[in-house]
């Protein structure tokens, strides 16, 4: 590491090797000309100016928010859904660092990177949504301790910092800053404990936000115990998202994994087993929540009754059984389809709670404007591009190539 990293700064060699992937600038720019990149560039070309426009013209000009619908897609999708889908960082971190489940070690760094980028995009989406985001600093000085949002804000701020520090391990390794990354790596256990602590609090608190609005949220989704559902479903989201993400990563970045064998199927089956159990428990907990809320009679009744059944049967019970079956009979495709259903189910649940079943009794319903959708899409694209950029350069999916040999023997 020390020999190849830090001292080799002069000339274009470091940049060429570490940034341009060994190509010359010209070759690199040519290599960027792919259909996928063109589509991404188009989305960015629309989305980035829209953020500027939103701050120049205000929320009214860019969104379909109203006096009855104060929260729209940027909260419902970017924040609520983004944070849930980024739960893989703490789920896998805990499995590896605390529970010592070594088989998940190979997916720890990608899961943490997904988590970090997910939180970063959620925070950018939140900044776009806030009327005066610079006043966010008041969170740290005004003691709004009776607010669930106070808890969410503190935890998200702290946890994003923790995720950055966890991600800084491969980042510093890539930069060759050995002096920083070695001590940080020793802190990984402490960081993981903090990540589990903060995640427990804010993943659940995102649900608690709605406890104060009992008559605005449909009784099938409202529950005084919604924080328990949000936390458990965040674990489901983390597990499912890690399966989806590692499946895609190991196909797209297969050349990254050359000479570095990870039995990704074994890892996936392990995750599927955990997913099956957690989802199965979640299904019955949700049912218990409905009974507790005296809303059992509403299941299957009208649009919301049927919509709830679709969410719970199609995207919780079905993927749970598919996970169990797939893990039992070693059927990788079934597990991967279940993971996609699981991810869709979490997206559906967060959108249901914050948008679809919220204001269910209002005559005028909210539908996001094209600009809201474009900005949300842009943030997803930025996340995906950042993930790709980092994975192609930093030791996330596999160790730094030139050091793989020199490190095996050190511990």
């Amino acid at each position: 590491m020390a020999s190849s990293g830090a001292p080799a700064r002069p000339g274009g060699s470091w940049v060429q090797e570490r940034i341009l992937l060994g190509m010359t600038m010209r070759e690199y720019l040519v290599s960027l000309w792919t259909p996928f990149n063109v589509v991404c560039a188009a989305i960015l070309a629309v989305g980035v100016p829209l953020i500027v426009y939103r701050f120049a013209a205000g929320l009214g000009a860019t969104t379909n928010l109203s006096q009855t619908q104060p929260w729209g897609l940027w909260i419902g999708f970017d924040m609520m859904t983004g944070i849930a889908l980024a739960a893989g960082g703490f789920t896998i971190g805990a499995a590896v660092e605390i529970f010592n489940l070594e088989e998940f070690h190979a997916i720890e760094r990608p899961a943490i990177l997904t988590g970090f980028l997910g939180y970063l995009m959620a925070v950018i989406g939140l900044i776009a949504d806030l009327g005066k985001p610079w006043n966010m600093v008041g969170i740290f000085s005004n003691n709004g301790t009776q607010s669930v949002l106070f808890e969410v804000a503190w935890c998200v701020a702290c946890y994003t910092t923790v995720l950055f520090l966890e991600f800084a391990v491969p980042l510093f390794e890539w930069l060759g800053w050995e002096r920083f990354y070695r001590p940080l790596k020793k802190l990984l256990l402490a960081l993981t404990v903090l990540s589990v602590m903060f995640s427990t609090m804010h993943q659940s608190a995102l649900g608690s936000l709605f406890i104060i609005a009992p008559h605005k949220l449909h009784p099938l989704w409202y529950s005084g115990q919604i924080f328990i559902f949000f936390f458990i479903s965040a674990v489901i989201a983390g597990i499912s998202m890690v399966i989806v993400e590692s499946t895609i990563s190991h196909q797209i970045f297969s050349d990254q994994l050359e000479g570095h064998h990870v039995d990704i199927e074994k890892v996936t089956f392990g995750l599927a087993k955990a997913g099956a159990v957690v989802m199965f428990a979640y299904f019955f907990l949700k049912l218990q929540g409905v009974i507790d809320n005296h809303a059992l009679g509403l299941i299957g009744v009208g649009f919301y009754g049927k919509w709830w059944l679709l969410e719970m049967l199609g995207f919780v019970l079905l993927p749970s059984l598919m996970y169990a079956w797939g893990a039992r009979y070693r059927h990788i495709t079934v597990v991967r389809v279940a993971a996609i259903l699981g991810v869709v189910g979490i997206v559906l649940n967060r959108l249901n709670v914050s948008l679809v079943a919220y204001n269910y009794n209002q005559p005028v319903r909210y539908w996001p404007s094209w600009m809201e959708i474009a900005v949300s899409l842009m943030l997803v694209v930025v996340g995906v591009l950042a993930f790709r950029w980092i994975v192609l350069r930093m030791p996330v999916l596999s160790p730094m190539k030139e050091q793989a040999g020199s490190h095996g023997g050190t511990p």
């Binding site: 003691n143 607010s147 602590m197 427990t200 609090m201 608190a205 104060i212 924080f227 730094m400």
Partner: protein, 301 residues
């Protein structure tokens, strides 16, 4: 400044036993929220006396420098709502015999306001004297107050690039000078009575009990949302008047008390619990060798 005496971070540092005390139902008034707000300034609205002159709307617009209210024809043509530039509206309902019954709506100024409890930066706050106040310079525009308010009162300036939340101020600056709110000072029919909450509840009870044939036996705001500083009595149903009849009778900030009891417990118990699990799962020392076998060689130095 009655809200949130319980300091998040202080509790974070407390022992597990102290943390458990924060669980729901143990200490109903421990954080300094008053039970009823007997001495807070309040208004009793007797809708049977309201003649629908809308003088209160005009006085409100003048006192708060808002645009002039619309004409009667326009105002009663549709069911209006308050807005960023309109803090109070007089609405028209109908009695069973078809004659009009008017009602003035504005912020209810809850004794335990959901909006102020939801505000993470305390831009919304409850004053000792009764009004729910708002400081736009603190507001970050999260609009959680709008989600939290059971009466959907706070309105947002979506059209502005520097937006703030807008709602009835209960003329707190006038009240601080010893003057009544602008609306109550102009009411010609005696529909609006300004006083302390305790006295006005007694007055409302007297009117309702004294005329059981006339009044609907309910004082709206006595218990709704844990009690509000604006109280209403009428001779038709409150549903017909367009009131939020589904509103809980208990305080809204208390709904989240259970959920807010979670962080102290988590912050106290998780670190030792997780470290214990770590020690348990690493008891045979096998953690030292991890990383070599599964290809993460660069990870352990």
């Amino acid at each position: 400044m009655k809200l949130g005496r319980r300091h998040f971070l202080q509790i974070a540092g407390a022992t597990g036993t102290a943390a458990l005390v924060a669980l729901p139902g143990r200490t109903p008034a421990a954080d300094g929220i008053p039970v009823a707000g007997e001495d807070e300034s309040s208004v009793l609205v007797d809708t049977t006396k309201c003649i629908g002159c809308r003088g209160c709307e005009a006085a409100c617009a003048e006192a708060n420098k808002l645009p002039d209210p619309p004409s009667d024809a326009e105002a009663f043509a549709t069911r209006r709502n308050t807005g960023p530039d309109c803090f109070t509206v007089v609405l028209r309902a109908e009695k069973p015999d078809g004659s009009p019954r008017f009602v003035k709506r504005q912020c209810m100024h809850c004794v335990e306001p959901a909006c102020a409890s939801a505000c993470p930066v305390r831009a919304l706050d409850k004053l000792e004297t009764g009004p729910v106040s708002y400081d736009g310079s603190k507001c970050m525009g999260c609009r959680y107050c709008m989600v939290a308010c059971p009466f959907s009162v706070p309105k947002y300036q979506y059209a502005s690039a520097l937006p703030v939340v807008r709602k009835c101020t209960f003329c707190s600056s006038r009240q601080a000078q010893g003057k009544p709110p602008a609306c109550t000072s102009v009411c010609p029919s005696g529909a609006l009575t300004y006083g302390t909450r305790g006295r006005l509840i007694a007055e409302a009870r007297g009117r309702v009990y004294g005329n059981p044939d006339k009044y609907t036996p309910h004082i709206y705001g006595e218990h709704e949302a844990g009690g509000t500083n604006w109280l209403y009595i009428t001779d038709i149903t409150f549903e017909k008047l367009g009131f939020e009849v589904a509103v809980n009778d208990n305080s809204y900030p208390r709904l989240v008390r259970g959920a807010l009891g979670v962080p102290p417990v988590v912050m106290t118990l998780w670190p030792p619990l997780l470290m214990g699990l770590w020690a348990f799962s690493h008891r045979d020392g096998k953690g030292n060798g991890k990383g070599n076998g599964n290809g993460k060689g660069g990870d352990h130095g």
